[in-house]
Symmetry: C2
Subunit: 347 residues, 2 copies
């Protein structure tokens, strides 16, 4: 199939040897790029969610290594590889749940250890390759996922697994773009996705750019949406998939999976193979980030909850494989995921 | 058992023949009472959610009839009963889902038709009786519900079914108050309850007044809370219970009921018998209010969602009786509700 067109501004821009990130904290009101000049700024941008989404933070970290290595090499041409270690650790520690971050850093580190002389060209090429591979994987998954849909499908997505979360057209939103372009999807619902409102702020914005009509709902309304037969599929991304097919994704995904099973709706997870962590036997081993309570208790710096209340703010949850109907990767599609099938996929 | 103490300011105050409502739109930042001087203002206050919660809007409507009748009688002593008709209709149309509104209006109307001479005293007495009966029902339900809990229970509630939603200590929060006072409940979680944030703004505020520790979460996190075994019960109120035991309540309740069943958590619905509508055979006949899209797309007048996005904003959903473990009313407790059991309860 032809490539899916993407009108959304890129989350990550590498141009003239500089890294620029679209500041997603300011969307949808402002489209502002921040230039990141050193590794501390890159790690901070990941931590502060200037950039978010598992594939996007992997790509960002790869460029972060390029920036860090340039500086370390300029400081000391003999010890730069050793001096780079704390930079890699700083980037790895920025956010814990998405495995793409570690995956990209590991790939860059493997290359670092082979380099002699000025490392910039080789590392830049590798980071760009990681970026381009993600763009290609997005395109592949978009087609594979859309092929699973029947005509006139209505779908629900959660959080943002789109261009803003990846290098390309997105994972879940890539499938939705392809499905809409081919006429298979005629209605898109999006959870607003509390507390960070990725659905309301990012997914809705992306779909508006693409002229794909989008209807927001609060997470509490998803059950009624399914009860009324309004959707056939839930389509989401993932931050880490364990070897047995358990899926870590934005908090609220587990709820959708349980509801989907109860109401006879299908559950599709779309993620590149860089999201699959064959080192972890099951999802309960995936580290789940707890965000600050203020993300729930405040909105844009203004307190919305009663003073004195506490907050429980896991940023992700884990959906057991048995509640996932299909995982779509660029390597292929896995129905009813299991350890055997994931092993076979990842070869 | 002794009466549960309530430190929360009353949602509804009838004093010196005037109606004052705590403006719940301004909580938790401001505690402000509005005086309602005519029936249009009362209907508007219900519609705009100055006051909300099924029992509270029933009580408010009863006082609204007192105010309307006083004015109609002053205008024309012969025709006041007929002139009152549009006032009753105005109040009845203010919000569609909570049956307590119609129930209170019907009770006032029945009395209106028997009256001769100045109706004020009799109608005021009836409205105060409705108010006092709700206070007593709250106390009764608090004890009945708390009796169902075992020691060291942790519970999750949704929306606000507390003092702010009733005349007394609340329905679901009445049970939670009683459970906490008797040491049976040691941890209370509350959904923030999008889009209107009743949990974050009202329930958390009430529990802070009572010195009951409360932990807020977004609706999307409830599944993980249950998956981790952190709660034993979901305890909610209701806006209308059909004859077969189907329960209409704040959007998000159905989701909690499906999740609770999946994860082995019990589901308790606490509501006075004025919430039971034996005229409706099942929940799919309950009118479900759609609120304005702005309640989701904006927060305090500021746009939070991307421009161009639409919103689907049902204010309530319907939980089928088979997902409800127990309904607690002031008339008694109904396990595994059914038409037979509801008929027996309502006699």
């Amino acid at each position: 199939m032809s490539a899916i067109i993407d009108n959304t501004p890129s989350a990550i821009v590498w141009m003239q040897e500089e890294l620029k990130l679209l500041d997603q904290r300011q969307l949808p009101q402002l489209v502002v790029y921040l230039q990141l000049d050193d590794v501390a700024a890159v790690a901070d941008a990941i931590r502060q969610m200037v950039v978010r989404g598992a594939p996007a933070i992997g790509i960002t970290a790869a460029y972060g290594v390029v920036i860090a290595a340039r500086q370390r090499y300029a400081e000391n041409r003999q010890t730069w590889q050793r001096d780079l270690e704390p930079d890699l650790e700083l980037l790895a520690a920025a956010r814990p749940t998405a495995v793409n971050l570690c995956w990209a850093l590991q790939r860059m580190k493997t290359l670092v250890l082979t380099l002699e002389g000025d490392p910039f060209g080789a590392l830049e090429a590798e980071a760009i390759l990681i970026h381009q591979e993600d763009i290609a994987a997005n395109q592949k998954m978009a087609g594979l996922g859309a092929d699973l849909l029947v005509a006139d499908s209505a779908v629900l997505t959660h959080c943002n697994a789109g261009a803003l979360a990846t290098g390309g057209v997105g994972t879940a939103l890539g499938v939705i773009r392809a499905g809409f372009a081919s006429g298979k999807i005629d209605q898109v619902f999006a959870d607003e996705t509390r507390p960070w409102l990725q659905g309301a702020r990012l997914t809705a914005w992306e779909l508006v750019q693409e002229q794909i009509p989008v209807t927001l709902l609060c997470e509490g309304a998803a059950a009624r949406l399914m009860q009324q037969g309004k959707i056939g599929w839930v389509i989401v991304g993932s931050d880490r998939i364990a070897a047995n097919g358990d899926v870590a994704n934005k908090i609220g995904t587990l709820s959708l999976a349980v509801l989907a099973r109860h109401f006879g709706v299908k559950m599709m997870v779309v993620a590149p193979s860089s999201t699959v962590d064959m080192q972890l036997a099951s999802g309960d081993l995936i580290p789940i980030e707890q965000r600050g309570a203020d993300e729930l208790l405040e909105l844009e710096g203004k307190r919305i909850a009663a003073e004195g209340a506490q907050a429980w703010t896991p940023a992700f949850d884990v959906t057991p494989a048995e509640l996932v109907d299909v995982i779509v990767t660029e390597r292929g599609v896995v129905w009813q995921p299991s350890l055997e099938k994931m092993k076979s996929l990842m070869g």
